[in-house]
Subunit: 202 residues, 2 copies
């Protein structure tokens, strides 16, 4: 529950309003639960502000996020808040024509295709909040160049907020990001033999 | 992204299905961001399962959760997933008659009134997911007895999941809970003088 009182007032020549509206890069990392869940919770606030939201799921299987996806689609279609565009790598990205290259592409190629689309959308200012779910993995694995990501994010136009989730966020990205939370596992039911369950894990 | 493979199979006489459907007590604690946000993200999954959801906000001001509240109310009213009941301490609990005692009650009394209602709802199995937002504080401050909370949660009937958020979760509660995540702050824009902003902090 932040109280809105910064501990330091920086000498950066910006007004409070300019500083307040500075677009953020947010990273949720660590081995605990809640990284993606908190990112989708943040999307609820963006939706309430009427912002266009773009979700890019950088995972092979779409199994685990069905609840969030359905909820955000219903919200996006409700006509009350912002819009929601949901892109899934698992089924092949929607903008990649099937049969052409999508079906035979490796996960590495698909991850790169996803990042290329994010770059196009950032340049066009398509969304005001980007949820790049599990995007830390392709960077960690070297599929997408972290320095390029940082450079693109640094130079993005307008006030576009970007949230990146995933267990092994590269140190350079953590250094660059404005807001970083590490979700640490204290305990998990799987440690004592419980499997994932409906409504909790998905 | 849990893979669903427990590392230990316990000798507790339960089938996998019984173990899987065991109701959970989940705690989000720590000084970082994302504790409440991840709890509301979890509520999206519960909503998708069609579960009745009860949110109890144990905070004086309702300022910071307007986005989540509006989103969950729209979802609850959409007729597509579960229902959502949202209770706020800030405005006085809805079940406490105004003018009688609600207006003059201290925050300590209000927190206790909130907990009494949670107890009644748990006994009646009113909801399948309870989000007790910021409930760690009244326990930490001694307003609500942690041992009683644990005892009530241990003996609750049916399959009711309970998520408790807040910075200083008591150690006994952490010991008792099934799933605990500690949100650690790595960095936050307020450290460098940025105030909270629309769509991110609320």
């Amino acid at each position: 529950m932040p109280q809105g009182q910064p501990s330091v007032v920086p000498d950066d020549g910006l007004t409070t309003r300019q500083r307040r509206n500075r677009p953020l890069v947010v990273v949720h990392t660590g081995i605990g639960k809640g990284k993606s869940t908190a990112a989708f919770g943040l999307a609820l606030r963006a939706w309430n502000q009427g912002w266009p939201i773009g979700v890019f799921q950088f995972v092979k299987s779409a199994k685990w996020k069905v609840g969030e996806e359905r909820a955000l689609r219903v919200l996006g279609d409700s006509g009350e808040g912002g819009t929601v565009a949901w892109h899934k790598m698992g089924e092949g990205w929607s903008w990649v024509q099937r049969g052409l290259q999508g079906d035979n592409a490796t996960n590495e190629e698909k991850a790169r295709e996803g990042w290329e689309q994010v770059k196009r959308d950032l340049a066009a200012e398509t969304y005001q909040l980007y949820v790049l779910d599990e995007f830390a993995y392709p960077m960690h694995w070297g599929w997408v160049d972290t320095d390029e990501v940082i450079s693109v994010l640094r130079d993005r136009p307008g006030t576009q907020h970007v949230v990146i989730t995933g267990r092994n966020a590269p140190a350079e990205l953590v250094d660059f990001a404005d807001l970083v939370t590490d979700m640490s596992k204290v305990k998990h039911p799987m440690d004592v033999g419980q499997k994932g369950q409906r409504g909790i894990e998905w």
